[in-house]
C-alpha cells in the first residue's frame, strides 16, 4: 500500500483506496509521489497541520454542540428584517429541494440531461415576470444587493451615461456593495434625500438634479423604512422624461397586494427573493431577482433559460443568449457571474406555485395587516411613536423616547431580538428602530415583544 490509510470516514468518499497499487501499475508508476514530481520539492508540504478525519457520528456531535450555541427564531421571537425576513416555508419546498437529482446537478450546460431543472427555471422566470409585471427575468443573481450593482452596470451599458441615483435611505451594506460594483466603470453614485416626515423620496430634489447624464434612478418600493412610495408615477415620469432607466427594488411578497413595478413603468426590477421559500440561514444563501423589458434582453446579466424544440420538434428547454456570458464573451461579457443561486430559485418556484395567485395575495395581506397591528400596539405605549407617516408593508420604524440607553439590550433581556437600531447608519434617526413583523410571528411572540417594550 502507498502510505497509511486516512483516518475517520474519508474512506467512504474515496472508493479506490484498495486499488491504488493496481492503478499505479497500469499507469506505469510505482508510487503516488511520482504523480507529484512536477511540484518543485521546496514547495511540497510535508504534513498539513490539521486535525485528522472524524467519523460521521463524531462530526454530528461536534455540530450539535455548535448548533446549541445559536438561539433560533423558534426559541426566541426575532423582529429583525432589513434584508432578510422569517417567513413560513411549506414542507413541500424542502421535500422538492431535497431531491438530489436537482441539488447535486451542475449548471445545465447539457440541456438534454437537465430538462427538469431547465423547465423549473423557465417556470421561475415566468412567475417572476408575472408578479413583477415585467416581460422577462433571468434565472437568478447572488442576492438583491448585487442585483442592484448589476442593474446600475446595465443602465450604464444601455444609456452610456455615467451617473446613477439611489435613495439616501438604503442600507449602508447596499451602498457599499453598489460602490464596489460600479467603481471600476467610472459610474458616479448620487443620492436622493428622503422627506423627514414621510420617509419618501424627495421628488423635488430628483426633478432638480436629474439630467442628461443620468443613466438610471433606483427607487425601493417598499423602501428601507418599509414604506411604499406614494408618488411613484411622478417619479417614473421624471426618470423617463430624461431618458434614464427606472430601476425598482421590490419585495416579492408584497406583489400580491400592491401594484407591480411593471404597472408603473419600471425598466429593471430587482429584489431579494429569500422570502420566497428560502430560510433566513444567517443571511444567506440569498436569491437575486432580476427582471426587465424584452428590448434589453441582450444587456441582461446572468443565465437565461429559453424554450425551444429538439431536432424532432418536441418542446425542450436550454440556456440561451449565452453569447452575453463570460464563458463565451470573456472580457466583454455583460457580467462575470457564472455560479448563481439556482437552488434558491427552485425554492422560489416551488413556493410561488404552492401559494398560487390567491396565496400570494393572502400572505401579502397577512404580513401588512400583522405589521400594522403590532405597530399600532407599540405606539400605544407611551415612550413609542411612529416615525414616518407613509403606508408601509411588513417593516416599520418607531422612535423610543424613554430613558434607557439601549432599547435592544432591554429587549434581549426579555428574550426578544429586534428592532434594528437605525442610528448607526442614519445619525438623524436617533433612537429609531426598524421592526419586522411577518405571518410567522405568533400571538405569543407579539405578547412577549409588547411585554418587553412596556418595561422599556
Amino acid at each position: 500500500m502507498n502510505g497509511c490509510l486516512p483516518t475517520g470516514e474519508s474512506m467512504k468518499f474515496i472508493p479506490n483506496e484498495c486499488l491504488i497499487d493496481e492503478m499505479l501499475k497500469e499507469i506505469g508508476v510505482s508510487t503516488i509521489d511520482e504523480l507529484f514530481t512536477d511540484i518543485p520539492s521546496n514547495l511540497k508540504v510535508k504534513q498539513i497541520p490539521l486535525p485528522k478525519g472524524k467519523t460521521q457520528q463524531e462530526v454530528e456531535q461536534i455540530l450539535r454542540r455548535l448548533a446549541q450555541k445559536n438561539t433560533s427564531f423558534h426559541q426566541m421571537p426575532i423582529f429583525l428584517g432589513g434584508g432578510v425576513q422569517f417567513h413560513y416555508i411549506p414542507a413541500l419546498v424542502s421535500s422538492i429541494l431535497g431531491r438530489s437529482e436537482f441539488f447535486s446537478s451542475y449548471t445545465p450546460y447539457q440541456a438534454e440531461a437537465s430538462q427538469g431543472f431547465l423547465q423549473a427555471m423557465f417556470e421561475y422566470q415566468s412567475m417572476i415576470a408575472n408578479i413583477t409585471g415585467m416581460e422577462i427575468a433571468n434565472a437568478s443573481l447572488y442576492d438583491g444587493v448585487t442585483a442592484l450593482g448589476e442593474a446600475a452596470l446595465m443602465s450604464y451599458r444601455i444609456t452610456k451615461r455615467s451617473t446613477f441615483y439611489i435613495p439616501q435611505n438604503i442600507s449602508w451594506e447596499k451602498r457599499s456593495i453598489l460602490q464596489n460594483y460600479v467603481r471600476g466603470q467610472g459610474i458616479f453614485i448620487k443620492e436622493v434625500p428622503y422627506e423627514k416626515k414621510t420617509g419618501l423620496v424627495d421628488l423635488h430634489f430628483l426633478e432638480k438634479h436629474i439630467n442628461e447624464d443620468t443613466a438610471g434612478v433606483y427607487i425601493e418600493n417598499p423602501n428601507y423604512f418599509g414604506i411604499f412610495e406614494q408618488e411613484i408615477n411622478q417619479i417614473q415620469k421624471v426618470v423617463s422624461d430624461h431618458g434614464s432607466l427606472f430601476v425598482v427594488g421590490t419585495h416579492p411578497l408584497s406583489l400580491g397586494i400592491v401594484r407591480s413595478p411593471g404597472e408603473y413603468g419600471a425598466d429593471i426590477v430587482i429584489g431579494e427573493g429569500q422570502s420566497l421559500g428560502n430560510p433566513v440561514d444567517f443571511g444567506g444563501s440569498t436569491l437575486g431577482i432580476f427582471a426587465t423589458k424584452q428590448k434589453y434582453l441582450r444587456h441582461l446579466p446572468g443565465r437565461i433559460i429559453g424554450m425551444t424544440t429538439d431536432n424532432q420538434g418536441k418542446p425542450a428547454f436550454c440556456m440561451t443568449m449565452q453569447t452575453r456570458e463570460q464563458h463565451i464573451r470573456r472580457g466583454r461579457a455583460t457580467s462575470n457571474i457564472c455560479t448563481n443561486e439556482g437552488l434558491n430559485a427552485l425554492a422560489a418556484t416551488v413556493y410561488l406555485s404552492w401559494l398560487g395567485s390567491n396565496g400570494l395575495y393572502q400572505v401579502g395581506k397577512r404580513n401588512l395587516e400583522r405589521a400594522y397591528e403590532v405597530k399600532e400596539r407599540i405606539i400605544a405605549l407611551s415612550p413609542f411613536t411612529s416615525v414616518f407617516q407613509g403606508d408601509h408593508f411588513n417593516e416599520f420604524v418607531v422612535h423610543y423616547s424613554g430613558e434607557k440607553k439601549h432599547l435592544q439590550q432591554i429587549l434581549q433581556k426579555h428574550g426578544v431580538q429586534g428592532g434594528l437600531p437605525l442610528e448607526p447608519w442614519f445619525p438623524e434617526l436617533k433612537k429609531c428602530y426598524l421592526f419586522c413583523v411577518t405571518e410567522l410571528h405568533t400571538d405569543k411572540d407579539i405578547e412577549v415583544l409588547l411585554k418587553a417594550l412596556k418595561e422599556a
Partner: protein, 482 residues
C-alpha cells in the same frame, strides 16, 4: 455496470396544469387604492398532489452527481456527503438572523471562524473572507483588493491584469468589471505560462497576474516560483484562481508558491452541491500585506468568544449581503471535519491518480490525442480532432452520445487553445469501475457509425436541443409562447 437512464415525461408547464389562473383581488382597507395591484396575478393554483408530481417528474429528468459519473473539467463534481445536507437543515442554523445579538449566534460564528482557519492552513494564506457568493465573485473581490492595495501605495497607474490564454472565462470578465485592462499572453508549446511573454507583458502598469495552478489543461506550472519573481519584481500581485485546488490539498500551497491572493470554491473542492447552478461560495484568502483591505465584517475571536468586527478603515467595504452563503460554508465545514487534513490530502492524491489513470486508458485509443506533456494533475484535456478529421464527429457529438450511455459528458471546447477539447475531471469519489466504464464508452463511441453519434442523444427525455433556435427566437416565459 448498471447505468443511469432518465425517465421521460411530457411534463406540462405549471401554467398548463392549472385550470384557471388569472386573478384580481378585492382591495384592502389598509392601503390607498392607488397603491394596490390592478394587473391580474397569473400564478397557477394547484393542489399539493399535482405539485409534488410535477416537480418529482422534473427531478427525474435531471442528471446529478448522485445519478452517475459527472466528470466536468474545472467543475470538480465530487460526491456531496449526505451528513452536510442533514446538518445544514437544522433549525438552529437555518432560523438565525444575521443581525441577532452576538451571544445568540456563537455557533454560526465559530463555524465561519474555523472554516477560515482551515482554508488559511490549506492555502498558505494569512486571512480569509467568506463573503463572496461564488468563484467569480471571489475573483472580483480579489481584484478590488489589489486595486485598493496599489492605490494605497500611490500606484494609481497599475490598471492592467495579465492572464494566460488558458484562463477561465470568469477571469477576464471579473477583471473588466473591476475596471482593469486585459493583457493576454499565449502559452508555451508545453501548455504552460510563457515566461518570456510574461516578462514582456509586465510593467509599472501591472496590477495583477491571474493564474490557475494546475492550469486548465491539468498541467502544474512547475516554474511558478520564477513566475512569482517576475510578477513581484514588476510590483504586481499574483492571484490564484482556486478552481483547480482539488489537485493540491496537502501537497503544496498557493501561499508557498508566491501567490498573494487566492479564492477557493467551496462548491467544488469542499464538496458542497452545485444546486443546479448555485448557491456557491468563493472565499478569498490573502497574505498579510493585503489583510487590511478585506471586506467587513471580519469574524474574530477573543477568549473563546466570537464576534463580527467592522473596525477596518482601509477595508473595501462589502461585496455581498451579510456574511456570505452560510449554508454552503457550513456544509464545507462538515466535509472538512469528516475528511481531516489527512483525508483531504488523500482526496487530492486519488483525484490526481484517477485523472492520470483515466487519461492513460483513454488515450490508448488513437481517437483521443493528448496535447502537451503527459503528467497531469486532477484533470486533463484530450482532443478528439482525429475523429473529426476521419469521421466528422465533433466533440459536441461525443458529449451528446455519452448521454445515451447514462454518463455526463466532460466540459467541451475549453480551454480554447485545444481543438475539439474534452476536458475531463473525474475526482477522487469515482471508483475504478466507473472510470473503466467511462473509458469503454468513449472507446466504443470512437468506433461507432458516425450517423448514430451525430444523431445522439436519443435516449434522453428530449433529443438534441436546438440551441440556435432558442437564441434566434427567444421564448423566455410561458406568456411569450405563440
Amino acid at each position: 455496470m448498471c447505468m443511469y437512464h432518465s425517465a421521460t415525461f411530457d411534463e406540462p408547464l405549471l401554467v398548463d396544469l392549472a385550470c384557471s389562473s388569472e386573478k384580481v383581488f378585492k382591495k384592502m382597507e389598509k392601503l390607498p387604492p392607488s397603491l394596490q395591484r390592478k394587473q391580474p396575478l397569473k400564478l397557477p393554483d394547484l393542489d399539493e398532489t399535482q405539485l409534488v408530481r410535477h416537480f418529482l417528474h422534473l427531478s427525474q429528468m435531471n442528471f446529478g452527481i448522485d445519478s452517475g459519473m459527472y466528470p466536468l473539467g474545472s467543475c470538480t463534481m465530487k460526491y456531496n456527503p449526505k451528513l452536510s445536507e442533514t446538518i445544514s437543515g437544522w433549525e438552529q442554523f437555518q432560523c438565525v438572523h444575521p443581525y441577532q445579538e452576538g451571544s445568540t449566534i456563537q455557533g454560526s460564528l465559530e463555524v465561519m471562524y474555523e472554516v477560515e482557519r482551515w482554508l488559511a492552513t490549506l492555502t498558505g494564506m494569512e486571512q480569509f473572507t467568506l463573503q463572496p457568493a461564488a468563484g467569480a465573485q471571489g475573483e472580483f473581490t480579489g481584484l478590488l483588493l489589489a486595486k485598493a492595495y496599489h492605490e494605497a501605495h500611490g500606484d494609481f497607474q497599475r490598471k492592467e491584469v495579465i492572464l494566460p490564454d488558458t484562463a477561465h472565462g470568469t477571469n477576464p470578465a471579473s477583471a473588466t468589471m473591476a475596471g482593469f485592462k486585459l493583457v493576454e499572453i499565449s502559452s508555451t508549446a508545453e501548455g504552460t505560462v510563457n515566461i518570456d511573454e510574461l516578462e514582456k507583458a509586465v510593467s509599472e502598469n501591472t496590477a495583477v497576474f491571474m493564474l490557475t495552478n494546475p492550469n486548465t489543461l491539468g498541467i502544474f506550472e512547475s516554474d511558478i516560483q520564477q513566475i512569482a519573481r517576475v510578477v513581484h519584481k514588476a510590483g504586481g500581485l499574483l492571484y490564484y484562481d482556486g478552481a483547480n485546488m482539488n489537485a493540491i490539498m496537502g501537497k503544496t500551497r498557493p501561499g508557498d508558491m508566491g501567490f498573494d491572493m487566492v479564492h477557493v470554491n467551496l462548491h467544488k473542492t469542499f464538496s458542497t452541491p452545485h444546486g443546479g447552478g448555485g448557491p456557491g461560495s468563493g472565499p478569498v484568502g490573502v497574505k498579510q500585506r493585503l489583510e487590511s483591505f478585506l471586506p467587513v465584517p471580519r469574524v474574530e475571536e477573543h477568549n473563546g468568544e466570537y464576534f463580527l468586527s467592522y473596525d477596518y478603515e482601509q477595508s473595501i467595504g462589502k461585496i455581498k449581503s451579510f456574511y456570505g452563503n452560510f449554508p454552503v460554508i457550513l456544509k464545507a465545514y462538515v466535509y472538512m471535519l469528516l475528511m481531516g487534513g489527512d483525508g483531504l490530502t488523500r482526496a487530492s492524491e486519488v483525484a490526481v491518480l484517477n485523472a492520470n489513470y483515466l487519461k492513460h486508458r483513454l488515450t490508448q485509443n488513437k481517437a483521443y490525442e493528448l496535447p502537451f506533456r503527459t503528467l497531469r494533475k486532477h484533470e486533463f484535456v484530450v482532443s478528439s480532432q482525429p475523429l473529426k478529421a476521419q469521421k466528422d464527429i465533433k466533440a459536441l457529438d461525443i458529449a451528446k452520445r455519452l448521454l445515451d450511455y447514462g454518463v455526463h459528458p466532460p466540459t467541451v471546447y475549453f480551454p480554447l487553445i485545444v481543438k475539439e477539447a474534452l476536458m475531463i475531471e473525474p475526482t477522487e469519489t469515482e471508483s475504478k469501475a466507473s472510470l473503466d466504464t467511462y473509458v469503454q464508452i468513449l472507446h466504443k463511441i470512437a468506433e461507432e457509425d458516425p450517423d448514430i453519434v451525430k444523431a445522439a442523444p436519443t435516449t434522453t427525455p428530449v433529443h438534441r436541443v436546438d440551441e440556435a433556435k432558442a437564441a434566434k427566437e427567444p421564448i423566455l416565459t410561458w406568456d411569450m409562447r405563440k
